[in-house]
Structure formats: structure tokens, C-alpha cells
Symmetry: C2
Subunit: 392 residues, 2 copies
């Protein structure tokens, strides 16, 4: 007979990895508020507020905007299974784990996928996307706005230009951008986008906000085959989030409380102020890392503010460094994925985790961890970071 | 510019509908514990404990046992998309919303589906399933153990007998049974099962525990096509829950804290004691409802303990009754779905919601709501319920 485990007492971490990021107390408190029914009038009102606030952070008027009941990858799959019918052609720009994942998800949805592979750590070249797409009758072009595996920001306006040339829908992965850097879906004419809660929204993982343009909704309506996933079928889920309130699946009530509070905190701070905060703290981190003699993987012009990839110096055991940070500072940073495994660290300054105290602690902790392996730098990373704050 | 909403202050409800059910304070508190990373050593240990406790509540030794990152319907879809390849034949017994949903999900996964329709409010006849399946080369037989839309309990041993005759895998929907009535997956030789968190486990909605037998795992390994859903592909997710700890998607950390605590409470109480508690409270509710002159939809021998369907008397506006309960008592019960809409109420006594105080309050509230519409009964429902407790 299996005995019950002891109650959990998770440690207080400082989460500076690729997500989840640190969760503010009021969001944790929201998760623990009393559960109500998924058709309770008070909950329906909270859903409407959540949708309005999601539109604000996506900068869209899209009617079809709500959180899917799964993590970011469920949001990705939602976009592809709803917009693709078997045999549709899809063009995907990929230079990281999440671009690669997009291609795999699209293939499983029955698409004929053309992938334009870019260098990991660099933005995609729109001209190569255009060349690969020309004459191809592509239904959609998809790429990642903020590639969490490499720390690269892609310009969606260039993607839109390519999609316009190809007369294709544009699907954008905004998992690590929403709430941390400018996301302007209507201005950019993005047709479908998805995000996650556990990055710059600073909510625990578990939901994936999605949004679909009018043109994307027309594509949904024009389908001749059912969506292969019942769970992710927007034609049904929209009837629950819409005025019909038709039961589809039982909404994850308490996670939605958390998202409601997370969106509230974003709007209370203001999007512009929040993005500026993320920029300043990232600039201070970058200055400190460079003072430590560490190289950043991504050129400054293509660098993603909320997530920084740092090359591991020769001779350093990167896992030992992360273990030192966790043990001595209760501080988490991420390792590399795929071809970057063992070669980079990933440092996230996301949501409420993006603050001066975390930047300076992270730099001090890294210096200490590197010193343990005999690596020392000539310059003072904390002074370099302080210089950025002083100039701000 | 959209303004931030006010912080949520959800009301304290008594949730006696079809789920979510009332969530105990320690589970709500667990949801709000500090978020850690999905590869944090303390979290990996919590995952192992969660898996062990899940095996206990499923009464299985199945290696492949863990919660999917979605609600119960995601668990249903997980079973079908992983076990089915296009063209596979599937036999489904359906006498309610969730049997109907199974057939739809299986079709979308590419199965050739044969449905044996039963009467809503009655158990399925195994002989009819057998007759429909004979000579059919069915890969799997699927049915609902506890049909939440009708309040019927199906005997899995009879389903297994049919599946054995057909040499088919047996898939069982245990959403409303786990934690409330006996579930003995290994003894019953069930090959795949899924549940939800928001019923008799008394945790908020958002996760779906699943489990797969050795024979089911062999079927997964023998696939010649990829699973159509990337998000639900067990061949990858098992590498995160297994010793490899390979990243697939970011686990919903805080929801998993909640499930860990929910499972802990089940095992602290003990499965046998918990099932007995559910039985006693249901018996008291049934006695009280009958004293009120109300008819129960399901014959006693096929009745589901955690969820009772009550026929709405002629001339009663059932929505007004539910509105009265919510307004005057902050008490939620459910309405009917599909062909039972407007014809039944659904009263759940699930998890920690299954207690004497709730039974008696529900009976008193129903009596009051019915009296508002001029309906009175000769007998005292509270006395009838008290009689059951006295005899217990």
C-alpha cells in the first residue's frame, strides 16, 4: 500500500531561467481563491474581463481572443490544427527549438511543410523566406517572434511583408514576448498568435492565450474538414467564451484567476513602462556579463530583451555553474537546448523577475560560480550594471 | 485604452454540481505555493510522489501513469490519439455526453468508429456491445465508467469480458469515478484510463491523470505513424515523467502542487473510507429526494454514487430552481445536458463536498426553491436523510 507523501514545501527560488519566471504574491494568492463553477455568473464576468485585458496586451481588437486550457505548446497546436487542412502548404522560418516544433506540429496536422532554416542565434532573413515561398501557394507563413531557445527577436513587419507577397496568413509565436517587449498584433497584421503565461506575464505555466484575426476566422469558417483535435477546436471553444456560453470542457478556473491577476498587474504598470523596465534591466545584465568577459550569443540588434543567451567560456563546466547558483543562491538560470546544449546559458529577466536586485544578484552569483572553476574577470560586473542604471 | 479590471473576489460557493467540486483549503493553499522551475530537483521529486499516489488511486502498477496538462477532455483525447492509427476500428458504447464525445474524438483521430447507443440514464448492455463487435477486428473498446451527464455507473468487468471476446484494448473514462467510487484498473485489466481533477479528487480543474497498461504501451510502440497531436504525444511526454527528464512542454507547476495535495488527502483518508463516505452521503441524498417526491432518473443498481440525476417535476421551471439555490444559498447544482436539458438536475456529492452538512443543506434548499413554485411534499426530506445516517 502506497503511503501519502508529505505536504509539499517548495523552496523560494529566484527564477531567472527561460520560464517559469518569478510569480508575484498577488498572483499566487489569486490561484488560491475559492473555486466556483465554470458557468457561475461571477466567473463569466471574470472571463469577459480576462478577454478584454488579453486584447490589450496583444494590442488587438480580435473578437476571437482567449486563453487555451494548456501550456504554450497547446496554443501553438491550436493555431496549426485550426488553420490547416490536410494538404495545405505551410512555410515556416525556423532557427531554434520553437521554430522546429512549429514545423513538426504543422506536419502532424497534415500540412505540406517547407522549412527555411536559419542560423541558431540570428534572426531569420526575410529574403530567404520570400525566395522559398514564391510561386508556392502557401496558406500560411509561421515564425517565432521571440525564440526562447536562442534569445533572438524577429521583426514581425518583415514577416508580414513576406506573407503579403505570398498572400498567406501570418502565424506568430509570442510566448516570450507578450508582456516583456512590444507586441502590436493589429498594427503588424498578424493573423494568429499564441503566448504562454509563465514568461513575461509572470503567472505560473498552464494556459496559452491565443488570438485570431478576422481573416483567420474566415479561414476557420471556410474549412471543409473537421479540426483534428476536439480539445483544441476553436469552433466549439469560442461558443463558451462567446455569448452562447456553451459547455465545451470545464475551464481551469483557478489558473484563470491567476491569469486575470497577471494581466491586471501588466495593465496597472502600463505596457510602455513595463517594456522600458525590461529593456533597462536587460541592458544592465548585458553590460555586467560583458564586464565578466562573457560573450553574448546574439548580436545586439537582434537580441531578445527578456531572455539572454550567454556563451559558456572554454573549459567551464556549465552544469556545475548552474548547480552552484541553485545551491548557494537558490537562483535558477537555464542551460541550452538542442545544438546549444552545453554551449550557452539562458538568463531570463521576465515579468516581475526583471528587476535591479535580480540583475545584480545574478551577476554576483555568476562571478562566484565561475571563480569556483578558476575563471576570473578583470572588470567588475556590478559596477558595469550600475553604470547602466545611472545613465538611465 | 483598456483599463485593468478590479481584483477578483470570487464568492464562496457550495459546489454540488457535476464539477468542479468544493476544494479543501489545503489544496487551495498548495496552488499558491512558490513556483519553481519544471526541472527543479524539488519539483522532480514531487512529480515522482504524484505518480506514485496516482497509481494508488487508479489501483494500478502501470509505469505509464501521470497527469496530462489539460482538463479531462484532453485526457480522453490523449487515449484516442495515442492508441489509434488512421483506419483502426473502434467500438464505443455511448449513453450520454461523454460516450458521444469519445466517438467524436476517435473519429477525428482517424478511427472507423462503431457506436452502440444505449438509453440515457441506463447502463450499457454488454451483450449488445458484443453483438456489434463480433467479427469486427476492433483495436479497442471504449466506454464511460461514470457518466457525468446521466449519473450512471458502468461495470468495467463486463466491458472487459466483451473486450476479451473481441481481443480489443479497453479504454475507460474514469473522470467522475476516481476518488469517489472503487476504481481497480489492474484487477479489471483496463488498458487505458483517464480522469479529471475537479470531481472526486476535489482539486480545481486543469489536469487529467492518465494511465496505460503494458499492453497499451506495446500498442504505442507498434505505431507506424506519428501521433497526430504533438502536445498529447505520450512517446515524448513519458520522457519527461520518466528518468530522462527530457523537456517536452513546461509543466503546469502550481496545478501539480494542487493535485499532489489532493492525492495526499485521498490517501490520508484511505480509499475504502472515502468510498464509504461517498456512499453514505449519496444514500442520504437519495432518501431525502425521494421524500420530497422527486424521481431519480437512474435505477438504484446502476446509479452513480458521486453524481445523482433528479427528474424535474412537471410544471417546475428548473432554471428558476437553480437560480434560487445560487441566490439564496450560494449553492450550485447542475442542469441537464443534451436530451436531458431542462429535464433533470445533476447533484454532485464529490470529494470533500460529500458530507452530511451539504446533503441536508441541499435538501432544505431544494424544498425551499420548489415551494417558491408551489410544489410541496408530504414527507420531510431532512428526516429521511437523518434516518440513513442513523442506520449507518
Amino acid at each position: 500500500m502506497i503511503q501519502p507523501a508529505a505536504p509539499l514545501s517548495p523552496p523560494s527560488r529566484i527564477l531567472l531561467g527561460p520560464g517559469p519566471s518569478d510569480v508575484p504574491p498577488s498572483i499566487l494568492a489569486a490561484l488560491g481563491k475559492p473555486t466556483v463553477g465554470h458557468l457561475d455568473p461571477t466567473f463569466l464576468a471574470a472571463m469577459d474581463e480576462t478577454r478584454d485585458m488579453l486584447r490589450a496586451v496583444f494590442a488587438t481588437e480580435n473578437e476571437l481572443t482567449f486563453p487555451m486550457s494548456g501550456t504554450g505548446s497547446a496554443g501553438m497546436e491550436t493555431c496549426f490544427v485550426n488553420l490547416i487542412e490536410p494538404g495545405d502548404r505551410v512555410l515556416i522560418g525556423s532557427a531554434g527549438v520553437f521554430g522546429t516544433r512549429m514545423a513538426e506540429v504543422a506536419r502532424r496536422a497534415g500540412a505540406e511543410v517547407t522549412v527555411v532554416e536559419g542560423e541558431w542565434g540570428r534572426a531569420l532573413d526575410p529574403e530567404r523566406l520570400l525566395a522559398a515561398g514564391q510561386g508556392g501557394a502557401f496558406k500560411l507563413l509561421a515564425a517565432v517572434h521571440a525564440e526562447t531557445s536562442t534569445g533572438v527577436l524577429q521583426d514581425p513587419r518583415e514577416l508580414r511583408r513576406v506573407a503579403d507577397e505570398l498572400d498567406a496568413l501570418l502565424v506568430l509565436d509570442c510566448v516570450t514576448s507578450v508582456g516583456g517587449v512590444a507586441v502590436e498584433l493589429d498594427a503588424w497584421k498578424v493573423d494568429a498568435a499564441y503566448s504562454g503565461t509563465q514568461k513575461c506575464l509572470a503567472c505560473p505555466p498552464g494556459l496559452s492565450p491565443v488570438t485570431f484575426s478576422k481573416r483567420a476566422v474566415e479561414a476557420l469558417s471556410a474549412r471543409s474538414t473537421p479540426v483534428q483535435s476536439w480539445y483544441l477546436d476553436l469552433s466549439m471553444i469560442r461558443n463558451y467564451w462567446g455569448s452562447e456560453r456553451a459547455y465545451h470542457h470545464t475551464a481551469p478556473i483557478n489558473m484563470l484567476y491567476g491569469l486575470h491577476e497577471a494581466l491586471r498587474l501588466v495593465l496597472v504598470e502600463g505596457l510602455a513602462a513595463r517594456h522600458a523596465r525590461h529593456r533597462t534591466n536587460a541592458a544592465a545584465l548585458w553590460a555586467g556579463l560583458e564586464a565578466l568577459g562573457l560573450e553574448l550569443l546574439v548580436p545586439a540588434a537582434e537580441r531578445l530583451v527578456p531572455l539572454t543567451t550567454v556563451s559558456v567560456p572554454d573549459g567551464i563546466d556549465e552544469k556545475k555553474v548552474r548547480a552552484h547558483l541553485l545551491r548557494e543562491y537558490s537562483l535558477e538560470i537555464g542551460g541550452g537546448l538542442g545544438p546549444l546544449a552545453g554551449r550557452v546559458w539562458r538568463i531570463g529577466l521576465m515579468g516581475s523577475g526583471s528587476k535591479r536586485a535580480n540583475v545584480e544578484l545574478c551577476l554576483a552569483a555568476l562571478r562566484s560560480a565561475l571563480a569556483e572553476q578558476g575563471y576570473t574577470a578583470d572588470n567588475d560586473p556590478l559596477a558595469a550594471a550600475a553604470g547602466v542604471y545611472a545613465a538611465d
